[in-house]
Amino acid sequence: MAESQTEKADRIIDKAIFAAAEFQQFDQEQTDRIVEAVYKAGLNARISLAKFAVDETGMGIWEHKMWKNVIATQLVYESIKDVKTVGVISTDPVTGITEIAQPLGPIFAVTPVTNPTSTAMFKILLCLKTRNPIIISSHRGAAKCTGEAVRICYEAALAAGAPEDCIQIIPSGSRDFTQLVMAHPKIALILATGGTGLVKAAYSSGNPAIGVGPGNVPVFIDDSADIPFAVSNIITSKTFDNGTICASEQAIVVEEKTEQKVREEFERQHCYFLSPEEIAKVEKVAITAEMSMSPFIVGQSVEVIAQKAGITVPEGTRILLAKLKGVGKDYPLSHEILAPILAFYSAKDHNAAINLCIDLNYLGGIGHSAGIYANDEKTIMKFSLLINAGRIVVNTPTSQGAVGGTYNLLPPSLTLGCGTGGKNITTENITAKHLINVQRVCRRRINHKFADADQKIYFDENCNETVLTKEYHKNH
């Protein structure tokens, strides 16, 4: 008799549960040996997996996907290798609190089509470091390359002594089955990286979830900025893997007084400003009627996008820029587009520019990332206090800056927390510390201020907060 979907889910999760039971017996040294072996195997496969991903998905640039694989393995490994994730992880004799790390249990990880092999290896390394078995569900458009990344990691893990079934991959393609596994009561946590629907499904599953969805990254070039430097950095970021990183720039905002200089710099660096007629044509191929980006242009080059839109652009154009007058459904290119297309805004003054950034930020990108180019600390802080973003990267390409590990000291991560704005529990870059339960052994340390206060007066209705505050802070 054919196995039902429920039986299949039970079988996969039981295997993960047994792996979890075995894994929690490992000490830090055994765990680290496995992580090191997997990181090395993943790093050695960085080129073949990058080429495989581009061949299968038809998205991005293999040299850039290779760098993503390096970030996901080498940089992530370097950031977690010395982190304690097993047993006692800290002891403070003053507070009397000892922290103990415990694994979570089976983790269900969803990987995207845009960064398939790197995200898989990244999540595998974090899970192994924290002794959690991982079940990966790949995007159906990247099933083969993700499967290959998983195979390479699993074989290396087993050879280093990891438990059987500590890494599994489920067949892609069935949304119902993915949701069945996601909602299984024995899943400890869902690590979902992908589109809005997927992240919503993760949060609706009833299991704890870290779901990271779309962004819509505004970048403000202040008049205090070094404009050629800013433009060069933006191009580096937005053209990286043809714009497939969700932290890539989506809109550039400048003040009227600097508009001409910024425009000229973009043009000098081989970017092309679309005419209103060309904007209308690009909108049709880039954004669907539901105001989401078209999958057919994700990770595509300028040449391909221009061809699809039926426009002609100068040879060697790196980015298409669309000067828009507003934000929202009447301006389709103001939405997130994971391709080398940028919205461009000119605001009458400083405040209007920041207000535009806020509008863009709230158009589907709350909590994700934002960028600012400025050499005035007051402006940087004003912008940062007003923007709702987990990462506000300064004078830095947002793709690389938000991911961390290269341009700043953020933990390198391919899963970027977006806070409550993105329905996440954290705004941090997800790393090993998010995949452990920390138990606290709390030794007796009396709060003498409270213990020595006259407890009776708390029962006296005539004693207001002034009296109680004074009593609490009294020198005994």
């Binding site: 979890a20 929690q24 059987e164």
Partner: protein, 109 residues
């Protein structure tokens, strides 16, 4: 690694395991264990239930792999519910069985 003691009056087979029951050790002992169960049931058909009580004594065990957990489940399916008991677990092992969810289908002490 594996020793047996059969108590005829109580119709109870105690299996004494020892050492580190990793994947290889579990693989090596399962044939011997299943052969013993076949002797008790009088046939090598695993669909025929073993009506004797089975005890897995874990006194000398310090580690179990997921393969050993699978062996426990296989044996649990071949005896009436409640007839397989895992005894003398170190708390470390008790927790391992707990995480694996085995206490839902057999007795772990």
């Amino acid at each position: 690694m594996l020793k047996f003691n059969y108590n005829k009056s109580e119709k109870a087979l105690t299996c004494f395991f020892a050492g580190r029951l990793d994947t290889i050790a579990s693989f090596n002992l399962c044939d011997e264990l299943y052969a013993k169960l076949n002797t008790l049931r009088g046939t090598d058909d695993p669909a025929v239930m073993v009506n004797d009580k089975i005890l897995f004594d874990m006194t000398e065990v310090n580690y179990i792999a997921s393969s050993f957990i699978r062996i426990c489940i296989t044996v649990a399916k071949q005896v009436p519910r409640g007839n397989l008991t895992i005894v003398n677990c170190d708390p470390f092992l008790k927790k391992t069985f707990k995480i694996a969810g085995l206490d839902e289908i057999l007795i772990v002490t």
